[in-house]
Amino acid sequence: MTAPTPATDERRRARAALDQAPRSLRGLLVKVAILGVVDAVAVYALFVLFLQREWLVFGIAVAVLVIINVVYLRRGLLPAKYLLPGVLFLAIFQIFVVVYSGYIAFTNYGDGHNSTKQDAIDAIVLTSQKRVPDSPTYQLTVLDQLGLLSFLVTDPEGNVSVGGEDRPLEPVTGYGTDATGKADELPGYTTLDFSGIVARQAEIAALAVPLSDDPNAGSLRTPDGSRAYLYISTLEYDEASDTFTETTTGEVFRDNGHGAFANSSGRELVPGWKIDVGLENFFTAFGTESIRGPLLATTAWTFSFAFLSVATTFALGLFLAIVFNDKRMRGKRFYRTLIILPYAFPAFLSGLVWLGLLNQDFGFVNQVIFGGADIPWLTDPWLAKVSVLVLNLWLGFPYMFLVCTGALQSIPDELSEAARVDGAGPWSIFRLIKLPLLLVSVAPLLISSFAFNFNNFNVIYMLTGGGPRNVAAGVDAGATDLLITLVYKVAFGSGTGRDYGLASAFAIIIFIVVAIVSIIGFRQTRALEEIDR
C-alpha cells in the first residue's frame, strides 16, 4: 500500500491513541494464551473424536486446527488473521447448515426414521424382546466402572461371565463369591449396593446384555437388580435374506424400499431408518392433493403478507414522517420518542400481548371497544389475516417512520423552494420531487423489509400460531401460516409426527424465493458500487 504523507494533526491523534494501546509484548502474550486455550480444547475434542471413531469429523477438526495455528503463528496472512474466527462460525452454523438442509430435503429423516439401518434392526430386536417362559434364572450382581454399568452373571451351572450394553457376555475369572456361590465382585469394578441399585433403577431396568454376538440369541434383563432372565425377540432377523420373521405367526417383514420393514399387508415395524428418497418429498409437497392446496395457499399468503406488511407500514410511516416534518410544529421530539416505543418492545412479546387484547371471549377489544361483541379476531380465517397485519403494522410503522424522516430531511429544501417558485402546489412537490428522491434512498430498505417479513416467524406464531387450522389439509397448515411457520410445525409440531425431510423441502422453497428477492434487491442497491471503492 502506498502511504500518502499524513497530515500532522492526524499523526498526533494516532500517537495519542497509541500511548493508550497495549504494547506489543502484552499483545503477544494474549495471543499465545488464547491460542493455547483453543489448542487445548481442540486436542481434547480430537481425543474424544478418536475414541468414538468419528473419522470424517476427526479429519475436518485436524484440518481446522492446523489452519488456525498456521494463520496465527506465521507472519503475514493478515486478512486471514482477521477473518478466520467469524468465517469458522459462519462456515459451520450458516453455510454448512444450508447445505445440510438441502441434503435433508432428499431424505425421509423424521420420527421413526432417525438413524442407520443397523441401528433400526438392533432397536427392533430390542423392543420386541419378551421374557422366555420357564427359562432359567441367572444370579446377578450389578457392577459399575466409571459410570458404565455391567452385569456380573452366575448361570444355573455356576459359570460366571460379565457383559454390558452392546458388550455380549464373556466368561471371567478372578471374581469373588458370596455364601451362596453367587459371584458378587470383580477386580476393577465397583459392586452396586442396594441403595446404588435404587438410585439407578431406571438405567438398570433399561439395560439389556446380549447373550452372544448373534442378536437373535436374546439378552439378559433384570427386573430387580439381583436376578436376570433371558429375553428373546419375537422378531427374528435373518441377515442373508434381510428379513424379519415373527416367530409366533411366521409373518415375514421385508425392506420396503422406504426405510422400513413391512409385511405383505403393509404394516411397518418401528423404528425405520433414514434413507435417501430423492425427490419424493417434493413430489409429496406438490403431488399430494391434500398438501399441494394448503402449500400453494400458504405460499400465496406469505407473499401477500410480506407485501402488505411493507405497504402498510411504509404508508403509515411516510405519512407520519411528512406530518411531523414541519418546522413550525412544536413537541416533535415528544411524539417521536413515543412513536418509537412499539419498535423497542420485544417482538415476541407483542404477539402475545395482542393475543390477549384480541381474545374472542375476554379480550379488551371485544369486551370494551366493541362493547361485549363476539368477534372471532383470531379464529376466522380472514379476520385472523387482518389481525396479524394490524399487529405487524403496529410493530413496523415506527421503523418506517424513522427511515422516512431521515430520508425526507436529507432532501435539500432548495428543491421544494425552486418548485414552489415555479408554481407547483404542495401535492405536486411531494409527488414529483420528494417521493421519487425518497424512494431512491429507501428502496433497498423496503426490499430487505420484504425479505424480513417473508420470514416473520414471531408475529405469526405468537399471535395465531398459523391458525385457524385448515382441517382438510394433510399437514398442520392454517390460514395465517407463513412458509417458515409451516416448516417449524412440520418439523417440530406436536400434533403430527416430526417430518424433517418434508420440512426441509419446504425450507428449500423459501431459499429459492429469498434468493430471487435478493437478486432483485442487489440490482436496486448501491451496495455493489461501494464494494469496489
Binding site: 500500500m1 492526524e10 499523526r11 491513541a17 497509541l18 494501546a21 506489543s24 499483545g27 474424544v48 473424536l49 468414538q52 482477521y82 467469524g86 462460525f89 459462519l90 452454523f93 450458516q94 454448512f96 447448515v97 444450508v98 438442509s101 435433508i104 407520519l320 406530518v323 411531523f324 414541519d326 413550525r328 410544529m329 418509537i340 412499539p342 423497542a344 418492545f345 420485544p346 415476541f348 390477549g356 381474545n359 371471549d361 379488551f364 369486551q367 424513522l402 427511515v403 430520508a407 436529507s410 401535492w427 411531494f430 433497498p444 430498505l445 424480513f452 420470514n455 414471531n458 416448516v487 418439523a491 424433517y500 425450507a507 423459501i510 429469498v514 428477492v517 434487491g521 451496495a527 464494494i531
Partner: protein, 306 residues
C-alpha cells in the same frame, strides 16, 4: 395524503390553539394544528397496548377478563409471584436471556469488527467475492435452517454433550454463526468513514496492525459497535425459533421460550402473571432503545440515507 383526516371537538382545538395567538386559529389549524391531532391519534395506537399490559401486570385478578378495566387496582402481587412460583423459573429465564444475549452481543461485535476491519483496510484476493458472499448470506436468516441446526446439534451432542441439544453454549455458537452475515456489512460501511490516513500515521509511528485495530480503530468506531451490540442483544433476546428447539430443559430456557409456553396454553388463566413477566422483560430493552435512540437511528438508516 396531506389533508387532515381527523376531526376533533372545538373546545379541544381552542385549548391547543390558545398557545399560538400570533396566527388566526383557522390558519394555525390548517398549517400545524391538524398535525397534533394525527400525532395524538398515533400515540394512542402506539402506546395503548403497552399501557394495557402494564395495567394488567398490576392487576391482582389473575385473568384476562379482569384486566379490561385499566388501572382499576394497583398491586405488585404478580411481580412477587413471578419469583416465588416453583413451577415457573422466571428468574432463571431472565438470567439466561441476559447472559446468552450479552455473550452473543459481545462476541458478535468482536467477530464482526475483525472482519469489517479486514474488508475495509486490507486489500487481498477474494475480498470482493467475500463481501458479495456476505451480502448474499445476510439475506438468508438462520431460522430457515432450523431443522438442520437441530440435527447438527443433536449430532454434536452425541460426541460432546456439553455443546449439543439442551446446551446454552451450543445455542450461543449457533447464534455466532450468524454474526458475520448480519452485521459486518453495517460495520464495514462505518469503518470506511474513518480516514485511512489515521492508520497510515500510526503505522509510520511503528504501531503493529493489532495495535492499530485494538488501540485506534475500535475507539473511533465505538458508536457502530454500540449499535451492533444492541441490535444483536435485542435480536437474541427475542429469538424464539432456534432457542425453542435447542433449549429443552425449562430451567435453561430464555424468556421468549418460557413466556410463550406460559401464555400459549392457557392465555386467560395466566394473563396477569404473563403481563408482569412481559413488563420486566421489556423494560431493559426499551430503556436501551430510548437512551441509544440517536445511535440506533443513524445505524439503521446508514445503509440507505447518506
Amino acid at each position: 395524503m396531506t389533508t387532515a383526516i381527523v376531526t376533533d371537538s372545538p373546545e379541544d382545538l381552542a385549548r391547543r390553539g390558545a398557545k399560538e395567538r400570533r396566527r388566526p386559529f383557522g390558519r394555525w389549524f390548517r398549517e400545524t394544528g391538524w398535525r397534533h391531532l394525527v400525532g395524538v391519534a398515533v400515540l394512542v395506537f402506539a402506546a395503548f397496548p403497552l399501557l394495557y399490559v402494564l395495567s394488567a401486570s398490576l392487576n391482582p385478578s389473575g385473568t384476562l377478563v379482569g384486566s379490561n378495566q385499566l388501572f382499576r387496582v394497583v398491586d405488585i402481587g404478580n411481580y412477587i409471584e413471578l419469583f416465588n412460583r416453583p413451577t415457573l423459573p422466571f428468574a432463571a429465564w431472565f438470567t439466561n436471556t441476559v447472559v446468552i444475549g450479552l455473550v452473543t452481543a459481545v462476541c458478535t461485535v468482536f467477530l464482526g469488527a475483525l472482519a469489517a476491519y479486514a474488508f475495509s483496510r486490507l486489500r487481498f484476493t477474494g475480498r470482493r467475492i467475500g463481501l458479495l458472499s456476505l451480502l448474499l448470506v445476510q439475506m438468508f436468516p438462520q431460522l430457515l435452517g432450523v431443522v438442520a441446526i437441530f440435527l447438527l446439534l443433536s449430532g454434536i451432542g452425541e460426541i460432546f454433550p456439553v455443546l449439543g441439544l439442551g446446551s446454552q453454549v451450543g445455542l450461543i455458537m449457533v447464534y455466532l454463526g450468524g454474526a458475520l452475515g448480519v452485521n459486518t456489512y453495517l460495520m464495514y460501511g462505518f469503518f470506511n468513514t474513518v480516514p485511512a490516513s489515521i492508520d497510515e500515521a500510526a503505522k509510520i509511528d511503528g504501531a503493529s496492525h493489532a495495535q492499530i485495530f485494538f488501540g485506534i480503530i475500535l475507539r473511533l468506531v465505538a458508536p457502530i459497535l454500540a449499535v451492533v451490540a444492541l441490535l444483536s442483544f435485542v435480536g437474541t433476546a427475542s429469538e424464539f425459533v432456534i432457542a425453542s428447539v435447542v433449549l429443552t430443559e425449562p430451567s435453561t430456557q430464555t424468556l421468549a421460550v418460557g413466556l410463550y409456553q406460559l401464555v400459549s396454553n392457557e392465555t386467560s388463566k395466566n394473563w396477569t402473571l404473563f403481563s408482569a413477566g412481559a413488563v420486566l422483560a421489556a423494560i431493559p430493552v426499551m430503556l436501551l432503545f430510548v437512551f441509544l435512540q440517536k445511535y440506533i437511528v443513524s445505524g439503521l438508516t446508514a445503509g440507505a440515507v447518506k
